[in-house]
Symmetry: D2
Subunit: 427 residues, 4 copies
């Protein structure tokens, strides 16, 4: 066989010599990661035709492959549309142009036609050189520093008049993260979100990922909701922090409040954690906990003063964990450390995720989706929730690298804690 | 205050002397179990009026109370309707009649107007004496043996022509089971079905209930679905059986099949339980497992022959557990021990529940509801499922004594296993 | 029977004449609303004993009842604890004291021992007179104006040094809202949260409640999440607004964004609402929608300029609906109208709920719980979600007056829309 | 590029000339249906290497493609394993052998090594000719009639001693059903199981599928659970039957019972369908409904006698719908028409699905999975449930052709009914 020839026949109404043509190339696990078929399918779907000019397929599973494909469309506009689409699938023109840049005309908004980012590693072509985009984050624009040969993702809110913003798809290429093709404990979990899977294997996968992250000198981020406390899991998390397994914590007022409530009153939402029963006047405990902390001037002061002596927040203060408590409209109080402006909180979270290489999202849809919005695709993410809908939502909103575990939070954290702590004690 | 007087005024259109009147009495925790208000409310709702003639309320929480109430209605029919309704709430006439009995005129069906049973302890009045109804089960009729002074619940299917069947509500009284008012680890769980509850408390409650059941010489029944095997929990259940904590097992072909699959192939529904991944051709394993057992003549023979050497079914054979495998239309095979006729299976289950005092229903809606239909209200039931809908369904269908735990099956069974086995080893 | 006498016997170790005693009274549907048994149970549970000195029970279901009960406890402290507890159940001392008030010593926090409010109508006793508390809201304190004879609920954040704050339970009484005892379309729904209920009855109940609210000149509040748009329900809501059925809207950036996305691009989260398929580059649409609105200076300006011509937000601008868009950390953009500070947003919501008598919470846990926190118990609330967990959470957090409908949002809103609009057209 | 050459290098320890080699071919939408990459991936994963000898890719999306691939493995056994695996992905040897057949040695069980079927169209090679397998059904064996040149799927239970059963993978090939690549209303739904999708589009997809099925003279199968009645949807289904849209009904005792209950008493599980409230003694209605039907001799007799005059079962009798009521262990009664032996019921269902081309599975996990087990992959299946777990389970168990709709049953059926009936009335 000499080549895959695809001349548009009479059915598409374009003669073989008419129309526009451009060559693209794509590298990586293009066959087994389904990249090649997806690209060919997109071309056909958008009305183009293709010819595979070169195709080298790796022999072993770890070997990369390469394909060079000529794309033909009816006219230049149609061809541009196809090329723009393929950029996100990792295909790039063989003979690329520089990225097109226009100055922002309005503060806090991008120019029309701005390039909208994904969470995948991206490069822009500046002065003939491909430059990596810093601070990779989905749903941003790209601001460039041509002189310095640099580019970075920019949230819409931070646009200032005159900033040079990338528009269109020319001169932009995405290098999709390839899921490790090695047999991994998470391999199976990329499939359906289901509770009917072997559970101890899943826990071991998280244990391994956390240990690998720490061994590489990277940070582990925990994003947690108040159900951690309601289910009686605060001691497990406290233990993990004390033993140094968590460097960063994203949570809301509710986690902090119920954690302090359980430290001061032994209840969470008024339910006794040792007896499982509602306590008389227990529903007031969380408000009294907040009031107490506000009277003391904050959580850190409460620890210093000896008023708060246990729990997740206590251990965070003691261990110097980087905590971001972000406010929400359902907050009582809130705790003094809570950042009530959501844009300020987002920026604080952006700074805190630097160096994070593994994120564990537990029992919170709001904070998990918010974190998923900010993380680059290279950060491994495991989302644990007893409700499959939370995991499904996260995936639907573009955080594709997320692995979902549908399980109960308390036993999951108990197992995680005992595995990490036991193993860390062995020589 | 001398008494609670309730004469129907002009608004109800009945003079104080007109209409029909009857005295009822009710005993037990009639105030704090909400029995008394419920009864008064029913009377008013059905158009009657009442007068509390006597009311002794227990001083301490454990003390029983007593009330005697006169009910007045417009006519005899209205009064009868009210009395019939109150029977199920534990109220009975002060001056009762004998139960009314008519012979069955058709095999396999009750006479019109038959008394339809609940799962609460029930008595019928025969020859002036109150007689306990045997084999208490909901949704049955009552057949009496006047000569022998006996009565028992009878499923519709077992009605034979001529059997004396109770009709109407006269001469029948229900003695509702009172939930222990003592502080119990399950106290809180009777409220909303929710996953946001302290989890280790719940496990401890089940541990205590099982130990108490065994200490009293009663049987523990496990009703389980195949998710037990899918989640990697078969070793935990096998361990519980080996240590003597389970006397009776209700399951279907699926549990047995996937248990044998994991014993023979290390997979469940084709997913490796040690690695969590789908195995090549793994989806055939369950069918090959069934075929192997059918070729050997059954599970028991497979154990005898040394072909099956581990798993839940293996331990059941070894420990002499009373196993009922009931068939369903989704069965492959099935395993030779499966009872494919559902009525035969029900009767087999009816026999097997004698002596059971605690039932643990895990990850199966079908078998759990079927078991709930058969159990008297005196048997404590805990239903464990990661899906709140299963627990809700069970409660909706009348198995009120059920306590629902919304949690993940594998860690629950792991904890249960280690608690029961560890504690049983200590002196 | 002359009276219910409960002298603590030897078991409790207190002679009949020792200890402290106090009379309380309770009014309303104290039997059928289970108030009386709950109160008696609380007294016994907290170690007290009681004597019912007077008890008048209403003859018909609508008639109110009255009870006067003497409570005895071992000492004054124990008696105070019991009385404090009973306040919330609507019982109040027969011979009450004035509320105790202390000045706030710290800004943004209550004094120790502050009275923590519920969402039930509450009165405080000032200068011998019972005064209604304004701005009733759960989890607040009460600040009083003795001179003006007024009192109101005060969020913790708004405490200023010197404000007179109520402490303790003396001089405070709660008048619990009684659910209408009339047969209502919602009667059955107060039971288990379940999807297995007759659905058209539920819709009719909401229709009736909305019509009654409007007929009484009160406002209807809609609290909605973005799933309204994702499921294709935006036209139904737009129609309801256009026809005048909604006066107030609480939502977040996501609802506004996807509503504008569907108005501008015909997609929601990139999925075509007419064809149900993902659109090429559709995932960028929501960001481009936000950018467009930000470039135009906001939603209202976009309507004025003719750039936005349909959808929920468009109709709100046209109809002058009071819209509060509250920010969250998962927001992209956000839309200019979004209030990014959560405390500012809460205060804005507090103002907006005045005059609201019916609230419909649809497909949003965050905004629903936030709204539930602010609403007094007198406002009827219906929460609609396809996920039973959302409804359960709302109830667990104290919004008891909520009726939960587990159903799909789109057909629910379609039915609601056609019922309200059709009926409004008939003479 | 001349060809895709893949010689195993030193890493796999096999020289280019050693080992076993075999050519396979594969046809269809091998690129865009991801068939080709899946096959190449399987070869590498199982330790083989490949060389693409010929590859013609269709130019337009509807055009079929063809590939001929040489597979090399270390030895004959390894090669056989790979070939066996690829059979199920639609690849077949270029130079095939006849299927290998051995006589069954035991009744009710297959010989060791039997070929285990999928639900995809399958052919076996007999005497050099490819013969289609009749009665295609997953998890069966294949029995052949060499003389007649025929083959059919055989459930394990029906094996008789001496029957010629196919063993191994040689001489068997699967022709996978290709999902229509055309833009379809169901296109998007093959993705994640989620409730957040445009709903009216989904309904229209089902409407179109049912109309197409009827227009082609094929049957529509409805598989339904009792929630159809509980949610008040029985009139919609009755209407669909009356108008001729449903030819076959699979259900259990519960659907029939509650349908008759609502016809006789206006309740379902004791809840009034017109008022949504529990009715006094309503919980007895279902048992009385069964008793009444049993007294009359069955549902058909009840219709004949005029005792049953409305509802789903009534319309089925009137319209001559082929009804299979399959028994389960949770059945009360049961209704006389219920087939209590599950194996008998399965065989009855096997006969009834002949001619069915569209199956609508509503609100029943048990009957849906049972039906999914029996249907060939060519039958389009839509599963509607408010609980995403039911849909996920069905997919996990191999019914890949299922499209899941997470929505509420009542409004779905109401829409379906009005669309089908309205459209059928227009000219």
């Amino acid at each position: 066989m000499s080549q895959h020839q695809h001349d548009p026949g009479p059915a598409t109404g374009a003669g073989p010599t008419s129309g526009a043509i451009e060559e693209i190339e794509v590298r990586g696990h293009i066959v087994d990661s389904l990249l090649l078929p997806k690209i060919l399918d997109r071309i056909l779907m958008m009305g183009g035709s293709f010819e595979i000019r070169e195709c080298k397929i790796g022999v072993r599973r770890a070997d990369p492959s390469y394909a060079r494909i000529a794309i033909r469309a009816d006219d230049h506009e149609a061809l541009e549309a196809i090329l723009g689409d393929l950029v996100e699938h990792g295909a790039s023109p063989v003979h690329p142009e520089d990225a097109q840049v226009v100055p922002a005309d309005i503060a806090g908004a991008f120019p029309e036609g701005f390039y909208s980012t994904t969470n995948q590693p991206t490069q822009v072509r500046l002065g003939g050189r491909w430059v990596g985009v810093d601070d990779q984050e989905m749903d941003c624009g790209i601001v460039v520093d041509k002189a310095g040969g640099k580019a970075r993702c920019l949230p819409m809110i931070h646009v200032e008049v005159g900033m040079p913003i990338v528009v269109g798809h020319a001169g932009v290429r995405v290098l999709p993260i390839e899921r490790s093709r090695e047999v991994s404990p998470f391999g199976f979990m990329s499939s359906t979100v289901s509770s009917e899977k072997p559970k101890s294997v899943s826990v071991q996968g998280v244990v391994d990922a956390i240990r690998a992250t720490r061994a590489a000198g990277k940070k582990v981020l925990l994003v947690g909701g108040p159900a951690i406390v309601h289910t009686g899991s605060a001691p497990h998390v406290a233990h993990l922090i004390r033993e140094g397994w968590i460097q960063t914590l994203f949570a809301g007022n509710a986690l902090a409040t119920h954690d302090v409530e359980q430290a001061l009153y032994g209840t969470s939402l008024g339910v006794s954690l040792s007896r499982g029963e509602s306590i008389e006047h227990g529903h007031e405990h969380h408000l009294r906990a907040i009031n107490t902390i506000r009277r003391l001037g904050g959580i850190a002061r409460a620890v210093e003063s000896g008023a708060l002596t246990s729990g997740i927040m206590y251990e965070c203060v003691r261990a110097g964990v980087d905590v971001v408590l972000a406010g929400s409209i359902r907050d009582d109080g809130p705790m003094p450390e809570v950042i009530t402006d959501t844009l300020v909180a987002q920026d604080r979270m952006r700074r805190a995720i630097r160096g994070v290489d593994f994120a564990l999202l537990i029992a919170t849809a709001l904070h998990s989706i918010a974190t998923g919005n900010l993380l680059p695709a290279s950060v491994k993410v495991v989302c644990v929730d007893i409700n499959p809908a939370t995991v499904t939502k996260l995936a639907d909103r573009g955080t594709f690298q997320t692995i979902g575990l549908v399980t109960d939070v308390e036993p999951f954290l108990r197992s995680l804690c005992s595995s990490l702590v036991l193993e860390s004690l062995s020589p």
